[in-house]
């Protein structure tokens, strides 16, 4: 009996590892295929049977992509994502801290409203935002996209930061107050530094959200001047012909910042996911 149990355990273990490997394969295969295609010369796409790894690795697709308008789109996306993230964090800091610590009439209503915004369908915004941007002549500028992205990021930032601030023990702030720290001082000298991992997680979340936003960005940009990366990707699909190599190359490039951020902040990311969704 004992031997059988041991064997069962080993079989169980092997099955587990196999299952995990399968899941991992599912998670990573699209990335693998994307990168593999980007290094494959186009002729090899038509090979029968299909090759998974390129036979003749080529950088041609990347050269084409980097010589084209994609670079401008990349720069545009960087500008928008960085500024929207910065603005959102700065705006949310004092609000989140107050929501975390204070008791005042209407607080719950505000928090509920912010939570509710997460459930808003973004399509609700396409018509009105378009008309507003038209009136102020902002269509086809990065301003339009930036302002639209604030709709996405600001409520989320307030929500996440409130959660992180709540996690800081009140005693730390009280001690600072006793030592003569002003209200603002408590925020900047005690709360902010301690919550820095949380602030970082919120910032990264905001960056990633704006980096990948497609719907609003596509409405507001009609030319390369204001095009962001997700919209640029869609342009690789021509009427007659799809430049798959360029598309995969551009996709790889577009994913790089996010993956990099992710690798650097992996643990905060995982915690942030759960905290942001379950808190409250």
């Amino acid at each position: 009996m004992r031997v059988a149990k041991g064997t069962m355990n080993i079989i169980g273990q092997i099955l587990r590892y196999l299952a995990i490997a399968c899941l991992l394969f599912v998670a990573l295969f699209p990335y693998f295929w994307m990168i593999s295609t980007s290094f494959k010369p186009m002729a090899e796409y038509f090979a029968h049977p299909l090759r998974w790894l390129p036979k003749d690795w080529t950088l041609q697709h990347y050269k084409d992509v980097l010589n084209g308008t994609f670079v401008k789109s990349f720069a545009n996306s960087l500008k928008v994502s960085l500024s929207v993230t910065l603005v959102s964090i700065v705006l949310s800091l004092s609000a989140s801290h107050t929501f975390a610590r204070g008791k005042f009439p209407g607080k719950n209503a505000f928090m509920l409203m912010i939570l509710g915004i997460q459930f808003l369908p973004m399509v609700v915004f396409i018509s009105p935002l378009y008309f507003v941007m038209q009136r102020f002549d902002l269509v086809d500028t990065l301003w339009a996209i930036g302002i639209a992205d604030i709709v996405l990021v600001l409520p989320l930032s307030v929500w996440m930061l409130t959660g992180y601030f709540r996690n800081i023990p009140v005693e730390l702030e009280e001690a600072a107050a006793i030592d003569g720290c002003s209200r603002l001082g408590v925020l900047f000298r005690v709360a902010f530094p301690v919550a820095l991992p949380g602030v970082a997680a919120t910032a990264i979340f905001g960056f990633i959200t704006t980096w990948q936003e497609y719907m609003l960005a596509s409405i507001f940009s009609s030319s390369v001047a204001s095009r962001t990366v997700p919209v640029a990707l869609a342009y690789f699909e021509g009427e007659m012909f799809v430049d798959y190599g360029g598309l995969m190359g551009a996709s790889t490039l577009m994913s790089l910042p996010v993956v990099l951020l992710f690798i650097m902040f992996n643990r905060q990311f995982q915690k942030g996911l759960v905290a942001g969704a379950v808190k409250g």
Binding site: L120, F125, Y214, Q270
Partner: protein, 294 residues
């Protein structure tokens, strides 16, 4: 201006939340209101002039068969996406629950689909589902599961399957992370007590794991469902709503009304309906949660 005593007492706090809340009110509230107003207007002589038409936009939607078809498609899409995400996420969470060497890295790698951009996910999966050059057909053929290449985007059912698969791929890590966190919050004593009572692994799963997990499951399902119902980019970029509008979910339908047909009035009306639907679902759900949670 005489301030209410309450406002005066909490002046500092209201000032502190003012920048963020005012911005939110402006950037979120104003367009929302504007959208509600537009929904009662119809097209005038040219595409940028409006005529007040009252509730006609809404009535036209309710009478339109294509609207209801889109609603049905949205429901099918949501149920398919969420249930598969949940299944995959639960399996993943259960697998990852016991420590093993390299678990941290594996966990991180499993999150990669979640970090992908909608555009990247949509277009890479579109390439994967390419009838002749795509890897999916290649794998299915090699495994002998099909004898001929499937033209994924030519049939409504396979096209819907394709977009659902892409969506599930992107979102299952979220479900997995939530469920894993929930699993790790279950006190070990409960399992020990169950073992003493002679419970099998399956019994323990049914009577300890699932009940303990239900609040996390509820929140995750709600979020997943809302994200699915509100989804736009993946479907739009993969199929454009095709073939023949059969993968058109509500947000794509609304977008098409607004920017292809320039029917801003009906588009606004449809989006208000979507908004109300999501609101009702969330409130109903949250109320159910509150009742269970206590």
């Amino acid at each position: 201006m005489q301030l209410l005593p309450q406002v005066r007492r909490h002046k500092h706090q209201y000032l502190a939340i003012a920048p963020a809340m005012l911005t939110i009110l402006l950037v979120v509230g104003y367009p929302l209101l504007y959208n509600m107003v537009i929904s009662f207007f119809g097209r005038g002589e040219d595409w940028s002039s409006f005529v007040f038409v009252g509730a006609i936009n809404y009535l036209k939607l309710f009478k339109s068969s294509s609207f209801w078809r889109v609603v049905a498609q949205t429901v099918a899409w949501a149920i398919g996406s969420v249930s598969l995400q949940f299944a995959l996420g639960l399996i993943g969470a259960l697998l990852m629950n016991r420590p093993f060497r390299g678990r941290g890295i594996v966990g991180g790698l499993m999150l990669l689909p979640w970090t992908s951009s909608f555009a990247v996910a949509a277009l890479v999966w579109k390439w994967l589902f390419h009838p002749q050059l795509g890897a999916i057909n290649d794998i299915l053929l090699r495994l002998g599961l099909i004898s001929q290449e499937i033209n994924w985007f030519a049939n409504p059912s396979t096209a819907m399957a394709a977009v659902i698969i892409a969506n599930v791929w992107k979102y299952f890590p979220f479900m997995m992370t939530m469920l894993l966190a929930g699993l790790q919050g279950i006190p070990q004593q409960l399992y020990e007590a169950a073992a003493i009572d002679g419970a099998t692994a399956w019994d323990a799963f049914r009577h300890v794991t699932m009940p303990q997990l239900s609040p996390v499951i509820a929140v995750s399902l709600l979020l997943a469902a809302t994200w699915a119902i509100n989804a736009f980019s993946i479907v739009y970029l993969m199929t454009g709503g095709g073939p023949a509008h059969t993968t058109e979910i509500l947000p794509v339908y609304i977008y098409r009304l607004a920017f292809n047909a320039f029917d801003f009035g009906p588009a606004a009306a449809a989006s208000m309906l979507l908004f109300v639907a999501v609101l009702v679902i969330s409130v109903f759900y949250l109320r159910m949660l509150n009742r269970e949670g206590d």
